[in-house]
Each structure stands twice: as structure tokens, then as C-alpha cells.
């Protein structure tokens, strides 16, 4: 039953370009990109109990590497993509060594600090990053001779990559390793006594999460064909974190729902509600008051209760 629903959902996503205009297709593409990014953050926040306020470091790093190598070094798209993924993953391993010296608020701050250092570099290291002007002029590569310039073709590619990302991140969360990870979140001390190397589990998760953030970064930069230091700002990190928490941290659907909500409010509802920032704030407060674990767990509970009432 659940599988049928999932397939229907994916089929529904796949036909969006056939039934709507470019604007909505682009909106859907952005939701998918934000969802991949939120899912990667969710591995840390939801499953690992490690609240990061600097996850854009990896999205931004991979986007900048791709834009820089493509436009300034002129390397082929596949090489640029490969370099972005490899370098970002290596950097996440290095940053993980530093960040995982702390947990809790310390971890939050150190991830914030790392992303702020990268943000500062993006502004200041203008010979590479163009500083405040950002890097423009990136073109989308073609795939097996198919151009990705149209909104719908890029959407479909994004959809396929997002589905892959979702499957691989879901498998990670539900694997034996994922169980261990959740154990370290809930009872780190006991996990050590049970023979788990808690630090190593967290570090591997940090790297895996960094890799998927890099994938989101590539989608982001090819979608926008432009990268600017604001992609590395605290606000961007906070938005992703809020998406994860609002949707439901530690659930597979939560980050997707949260990302959709945030992208929708920011880019669409803002056309009708002048004070959309305030609306966003009120929605967050309401979510916390009504569904303290986030939307997905909250709705699940509601459905269970309604079913219970019927029987």
C-alpha cells in the first residue's frame, strides 16, 4: 500500500512539466534541490542528534568549486562535477575532525564558525570567487546529447537525482549503521559500552551528509547558473535547519515537507503576503505549539487518532 502511494507520488512529480508552466516547474525544481539538501542535513540533525548551523558550507563549497573550475579553468562539466564532489567530501571529512570535538551547542557553533569562515573567503578571496559579484556564466551541460537548458528537462534530471538521493539516504538511515547512529543520538554512553565507536559513527555520517550536500550544491549551481556568497550565509543554513525541524527531524518525509513549505513561502506566498517573513515566523511558532516534533510526525499522530476514533 505504502509502495503504491510512493509510486503514485513519484508519478505525480514526473508529470508536473506536462501540466504546468515554466514558473511552477522551476519552483518544483527548487523544492527538490532544497529537499535533497534538507535530507542531507537531517542525517546529522535528525538521526545523529548533531544540530548543525553551518551545513551550507558543503553546498556552497561544491557550488563554488564547480562554478570556478568550469568558468575560470574551463574544465569539462564531468570533471568539474567530479572535482566538486571529491573535494567537498574530503573537506567534510576534515571539517568533521574539528566539529566533532564538540556536541550540542558547541557543535552548532563550530559548524556555524566553519561556514562563516567559508562565507568570509567567498567575499574576500575575490580572485577566485569574484567576491560580491559572484560567479556567473556557468552553462548547463547536456546529458547524452540532451540539452538541460529548458525548465522541464532540468526538472526531470533533478527529479531523478533526488529520487536516487532519497533512496540512498533512506537506506542509510534504515541500515544497521543507521540504527547505530540513532543509538548514539539517544544514548551515546550506552552505545560505547555496547562496543560502538561513537565518534567514528558520527564522523562517517558527517562525511556522508557532506557528500549529499555537495550533490545539492551542484544542482543548486547548475539551476541558478550563478553563485554568490549569500549561498553560504547563516540565514541559508538556518533556513535548511528550520525546514528539517518544521517538517520533522529524524523522519524521512519531514525534510521534504519542510523544504517544500519553506521554498513555497519564500518564493510563492511572498507574492500575496507582503509581510511573509512574519508569516514564516508565525508558522514556525504554530508548528512547535501544535506539533512539537514537526509536521510529519504530527500528521501521522493525527491520522492514527482519527483511525482510532473510527474503529
Amino acid at each position: 500500500m505504502n509502495k503504491v502511494l510512493m509510486l503514485l507520488f513519484v508519478a505525480g512529480l514526473a508529470i508536473i512539466p506536462l501540466v504546468s508552466g515554466d514558473f511552477y516547474i522551476n519552483l518544483a525544481t527548487q523544492i527538490l534541490i532544497a529537499a535533497v539538501f534538507a535530507l542531507s542535513l537531517n542525517l546529522l540533525v535528525g538521526y545523529g542528534g548533531l544540530t548543525s548551523l553551518g551545513h551550507v558550507a558543503f553546498l556552497g563549497l561544491s557550488a563554488y568549486i564547480c562554478a570556478w573550475t568550469s568558468t575560470k579553468l574551463g574544465v569539462a562539466p564531468l570533471v568539474a562535477i567530479g572535482l566538486s564532489l571529491v573535494i567537498t567530501t574530503i573537506m567534510s571529512a576534515l571539517f568533521g575532525l574539528i566539529a566533532l570535538r564538540a556536541t550540542g551547542l558547541g557543535f552548532l557553533m563550530i559548524t556555524l564558525a566553519i561556514s562563516q569562515v567559508l562565507w568570509g573567503l567567498a567575499y574576500r578571496w575575490a580572485s577566485v570567487t569574484n567576491g560580491d559579484n559572484g560567479i556567473s556564466g556557468l552553462t548547463r551541460p547536456s546529458l547524452f546529447g540532451l540539452s538541460l537548458d529548458s525548465a522541464s528537462s532540468f526538472y526531470w534530471l533533478t527529479l531523478i537525482i533526488s529520487i536516487f538521493a532519497f533512496i540512498l539516504m533512506a537506506a542509510f538511515a534504515m541500515s544497521a549503521f543507521g540504527s547505530s547512529l540513532q543509538g548514539t543520538r539517544d544514548q551515546a554512553r550506552r552505545m560505547r559500552a555496547l562496543g560502538y565507536n561513537v565518534w567514528l559513527i558520527r564522523w562517517i555520517t558527517f562525511i556522508y551528509s557532506g557528500f549529499w550536500a555537495a550533490v545539492a550544491g551542484l544542482l543548486y549551481v547548475y539551476y541558478n547558473k550563478y553563485i554568490h556568497p549569500s549561498a553560504l550565509s547563516v540565514t541559508a543554513s538556518a533556513e535548511a535547519l528550520l525546514a528539517v525541524i518544521a517538517g520533522g527531524a529524524g523522519t524521512l518525509g519531514g525534510p521534504i515537507v519542510g523544504a517544500a513549505l519553506l521554498v513555497f513561502l519564500k518564493n510563492y506566498a511572498s507574492s500575496f503576503v507582503e509581510r511573509w517573513n512574519m508569516l514564516l515566523g508565525f508558522i514556525f511558532v504554530l508548528i512547535v505549539l501544535l506539533m512539537p516534533d514537526g509536521i510529519v510526525p504530527g500528521v501521522q499522530r493525527l491520522i492514527r487518532r482519527m483511525r482510532g476514533a473510527q474503529s
Partner: protein
Amino acid sequence: MQFWVVQGLNSLALGGLLFLLASGFSLIFGLMRLANLTHGAMFMLGAYIGAGLMRSVDGVSLWVAAIAGGLGVALFGWVLERFILRRLPDNPLGQVLVTLGVAFIIADACLLIWGGDPIPIPAPSYLARPLFVGGFAFPAYRLVVVLIALAAAAGLYVMIERTRLGAMIRAGVDDMQMARAVGIPVSRLFSIVFCLGAGIAGAGGVLAGPILSAYPGLDADMLPLALIVVILGGIGSLMGAFVGSFIIGIIYTFGTALLPDLAYIILFLPMIVVIAFRPQGLFGHVSA
């Protein structure tokens, strides 16, 4: 010579300003284990309340405005704690969501009420002139900020170390379960401390006004600074917040002057080093 004297005084002034910002955050975190991400917005709200008051009512002095800003934000803090945060003990992610959400609301409300242009907060006229320190001109008001920060630190120290309320706070910081067990009214204590922390932030916003002004974005500029100070000094330690403020003041002031290329990251590098090698901060006992 002039460089060192003036920048030294600048470090102190920035340190004093940071203490007014961070002490409330530290107090709240120490007792409630709550990272109040609304803190920057509360600081800004205080600044706007003060600026609005001084602008619309003639003859209101900075000191009266600071008290008004402090009380106004404390009241706001009371509502926030009483009706929202109280429902979220042991839900750190929910706390992150709600405190950031409220920060969004405050920021947008300030923009709506006071507009997008910066509003100056004048220093009292007798402090608006520069003072000559060893032959070098230095703004008199900035020196007063250092004095205010010292007085606030002393006041908080006395409150925490010498009063009944302080004793209860210390008990709660050390061991919450024990405090509950011996009959300390923990939820009332939380309300009081949250109000107090919010009030200090609000008053701090007004007192920082003659230096920073009230402008949109002040909240986002200040929140990371509060976090840096508290992390560096040690979470929940008043002493840590105090020393942390002045260390950051020195690092920032001399760092940007001597190593201008590092201006963007000068605040974050020391923090990374401190957390990496001393996760509990310079003065903290508990790990961050």
C-alpha cells in the same frame, strides 16, 4: 602610540558592549539549557523601543529609554517564556525552531513599525563630546559603556553570589533535579531568569544605540557575536561571558586593524581553536 592607546580603548568599549549583549544569553543558557536564538532580535527590539521613545517624546534621556527598552523586552520575554518556551522542555530542536521563528517575527515587525532607515540614538549631550585620554581623543560615551558593563557585571555577580534568587539560580545551574527536589520553584525561576536575560538584552540594545544605532539587520549582526562570546567564555558562566566579551573585543579590534585581510574570519578562527581544544570554553565546567 596613538594606535595602541586608541585601539586598546576601542577593545574595551567593544568588550563592554558585547558583555551587555551576551550576559543575558549566558544567564539563560546556564540555567535553562536553552540557546535563545531570539537574543539578537531582543537586542534590536530594545534599541528600537529606546530610539522610538526618544524620538517621539521630548526630553526622554538615554537612561530612561534604556530602562523602558529593558522593561519592554523583559515583558516580551515573559510572554515568550510563559506561553511558548515553557511547553518545550527537553525539546531542543523545537526551541531552535520557535526562537528563530520569533526572531523572524520581531525583525519584520520592527521593519513594519519603524521603517527601513537607521534611527540614531543620541548619547546624552554631556557625553557626546570626545574625551582626551593621555592626549588622544576618545568618545566619552564609549568609556561610559565600559563603566556600565562593569557595573552590570558587578550587579549580576552580587545577585548571583549574594542573594536568595542567586542561590536558587546557582543550585539550578549545578543540578536541576536536585534543585527541584529541595523545593526550588523551578518554573518560576525560569520565568524570572528569562525575563532578566531578555531585559538585559533590551536595555543593552538601547545603551549600545549611540554607537550602533537601530537598523534592520542589527539582530543578525549581533546574534553570532553573542554566541561567540558565550562559547569562548564558557556556557552559563558569568565570569566566562565577562572575560569572553573583552577577549573578543581585543581580538576583533586589533585583528581587523593588523590583519585586514582576515577581517571576515577573525572572530571565528579563535572560536574554532577554543572549541577544538577546550570544548567547555575558557571558564566553563560543563562541556558545550
